[in-house]
Symmetry: C2
Amino acid sequence: MTPLAELITPALLLDVGVLERNCEAMAQRAARHGVALRPHLKTAKSAEVARRATRGQGGGLTVSTVAEAAYFARRGFTDLTYAVGIDANKIEALHGIQRASGARVTLLADRIDAVQAADSRARVLGATFRLLLEIDTGGGRGGVDPNDDELLSLAHEVQRSESLSLAGVLTHAGHSYHVQGGTAIRAVAEAERAGAVQAAGRLRAAGMPVDVVSVGSTPTAVCAQTLEGVTEMRPGVYTFFDLDQAARGICGVEDIALSVLATVIGHNPRSRRVLIDAGALALSKDQSAAEFRGGLGFGLVCHAGGTVPLPGLCVAELHQEHGLISCDGDDDGVQAMFRALPVGSRVRVLPHHACMTAAPYDRYHVVEGAGSGVQAVWDKARGWQAGA
Amino acid sequence: MTPLAELITPALLLDVGVLERNCEAMAQRAARHGVALRPHLKTAKSAEVARRATRGQGGGLTVSTVAEAAYFARRGFTDLTYAVGIDANKIEALHGIQRASGARVTLLADRIDAVQAADSRARVLGATFRLLLEIDTGGGRGGVDPNDDELLSLAHEVQRSESLSLAGVLTHAGHSYHVQGGTAIRAVAEAERAGAVQAAGRLRAAGMPVDVVSVGSTPTAVCAQTLEGVTEMRPGVYTFFDLDQAARGICGVEDIALSVLATVIGHNPRSRRVLIDAGALALSKDQSAAEFRGGLGFGLVCHAGGTVPLPGLCVAELHQEHGLISCDGDDDGVQAMFRALPVGSRVRVLPHHACMTAAPYDRYHVVEGAGSGVQAVWDKARGWQAGA
């Protein structure tokens, strides 16, 4: 077991005990609602995380890039939903993934021209895909209005195509990220559910097959009171959680499985800052949680041995490869901070948004509990090219 | 020559004509000031960019990570300054780079304990390094006050060490990024120069060798009136420029060499948004230029064939793999935007901060001028591990 002190920093730490607990809690929620759990692996991009997140489930995953689809297909995950509106230029790569691995990649579309373009590329290649129709249940990102005639036209277009088969409907209540508290999130969850079920009902009434009614986002998955009529949910960030989810009450800080290990490389008494070697690239500039909670800077700071935030400290500034930690105290507080974080010591930073922080890294250093060394190294996907 | 239409998006485009012009202009500035140009490759992380940026120069580079040091050493760059305060845990990797490639990696420190820790590791390995002392000339990040006694103690500590030799002083006027206009930036540039020269003078007066007096930041390199007493400058982002530099008047929008190619994957008439497949990971959430200019959102939008921003359009929202483009017009404007950017069409997004945007990508697709296809693909370093 490698001691944390021997890692080259910045490095991504993942607490497998917290991960397993988060996965188990979400599996229980899905079971309670009687829906399948198709975890969104855009957060973790890791096969080892996917194995834990799909334990006791059908094994289906949600992905956000062709690179993730290729990575998971190569590692034996054969049921993938690529939950970004399909661009016909990606059809050849996705077909290659299906052919090489035997996996099935289910597509998403909300436009007749996108369906036609995808079908046209797929026909040339002799490829076939299942396709979900994207429904806008208030997020204002992708999707058709569940009550619009466009929904039926779109479904007919899929039915008419040679290469595509209609699998059902999918929605993502992205706006659940901008409300706080159980009541508000429950309302978004109900709008998400009701819109998806409404769309499914209209399609079925028109004689269309709708196997899949897919909803998802971590806040709505945690807070939904009912998922009646839904077949699956697709939360993602719950695997790791982060300050953003904690700030809106979806989890506790102790549920955050992901942190960045960094080394103290300096003290600046004039600017009252402790310098660490984790900057804007290592932590991301995401400050999502600031919408709901102050004093977080670009992340909370813990001693390397655990994940209990040091009171009053945060990463106050980011440069490309430098993070600057401040404390909210007076001169004595600054001196205490310097003593607590000597040059050469290590800290963990809890991130605002786990998806943004984890993305650029190649691997997770797996720990378990306070004081743990590195028990394992897990690979992960990154970027957009269908690589290793 | 691959047409842009055949690339998988998101993809990083680099206009080599603009790059060469930016490199030539900075080389001329360095020549005018009589200083060496040691470009900071933290922005481009690319050997092909480094070759252009060092044309007519000594070939020395500045790097910000061990991964960059390894990448450039393996590609024949033998004079590298690792311009982040040294962490002793990185000594072994840097020694490995020196041994494998014959490159010389010059270190940076501003603390006696950091010098001692680095020396201790280096001695065990039989490694030797040149080392620069970091001077704080107002940035408040790393560095000692040029007038503080600590400067001399630090230099003596380096002189006493077995493995380290004193190379000179280095400063980075990072606060030049938060002022706008020639007068204000010239004042920062002069403080940067004067502080570094003052530190060098005090060391020389104490009998210390000071070969290198290194300053740098793109704004101060562009605006400095004199660099008397300085031996080298280390600007980086000037190779690509970006909206942030344009917003503070350091370059024009037409000088931006870097853009992200994305595909239009949807229109949402309810939220009045055009959806593209370049989101927070592909563009970064950096909004640096907003300090000086409004209306930029997360980047300006151009047709794929060029880099002239479409009036009134910007990337207004980012999700992980989705960008949402808005326009500042009325309903007719929204319809015009939808017509201008049909589903399946391609756009280029000009980024706020080129360093943040380029970092996660594996390669540059090199174009030249409006309407160009891909002339070449250049590899690049990324992440923190000393990889390929």
